[in-house]
Symmetry: C2
Subunit: 123 residues, 2 copies
DNA sequence: CTAGGTGCTGGAGCATACTCCAGCTCAAGC
DNA sequence: GCTTGAGCTGGAGTATGCTCCAGCACCTAG
């Protein structure tokens, strides 16, 4: 796959793809005869996974660490599992906070609706 | 309340409190005889609320916008309610993504556990 | 009355995560 | 064969959200 195709498929900009390669999030892909990147198809799935770690708040340095472990193969299964278990706990904590804040938004919206109707009534 | 007390009570650094005041997130508090900030007690609740907006991903510029509306009083009830309703939808979207990623972490952890036990078995 | 602690201002600096640019190469269509 | 477009590299620049610092003022304890 050409870099433009990977960009379209993943929603990451071409610059971001090269940046991710530079910091070690994406393996340097083989090059074609003209020196252009020719990505394997499975990079799409990997980038989607990175996107999920990103969107759930895993910092870049940690994602890089995970990518490094992945490159080292079977010897790092345990380390990778432990990273994902730790991130799972982070997500659980955020979920609780999100749910609490969602409930708070509901309460606040109801309060504002009440205030608005009171405003209206004595215009 | 002194700035150091607000800092302790909220977990925000003194520098961050002054920074929040500078950008309009916190109302400039009255000063004591020596020109030092003397915060009203209710700033603690306001900062906690800002913290929840922050932790659920509301960007600074939006929080500043909300704070500005709040300063304008009853005339902005509707605008504030609409901001909170919009943020509520953002949170709902994040909740879904978090839940999906949590499930993904579970699946991945299980896969790694299987891989680890297989590794072990042919040592 | 002096030392130490707390607070003040204005402005510089920093970490994270990209984003953009100059100047170049290459391949393909007209 | 020449233009156009995609891609390349190295490095600079940007946005967000703080964080730190110099240099000074003030209050309190000993």
């Amino acid at each position: 796959m050409k870099i433009s195709e990977v960009s379209t498929a993943t929603g990451l900009s071409i610059d971001t793809l090269r940046f991710y390669e530079k910091i070690g999030l994406i393996d340097p892909p083989p090059r074609d005869g003209a020196g252009r990147r020719d990505y394997p198809d499975d990079v799409i799935g990997w980038i989607a996974f990175l996107g999920q770690l990103n969107a759930t708040g895993m910092p870049q340095a940690e994602r890089v660490r995970y990518a490094e472990l992945r490159r080292q193969g079977a010897a790092t299964y345990t380390a990778r599992r432990e990273m994902l278990e730790a991130h799972r706990e982070v997500i659980r904590g955020k979920l609780v906070l999100m749910q609490e804040t969602l409930a708070l938004m509901d309460r606040k919206v109801a309060i504002y609706q009440k205030l608005e109707s009171e405003e209206e009534s004595h215009v």
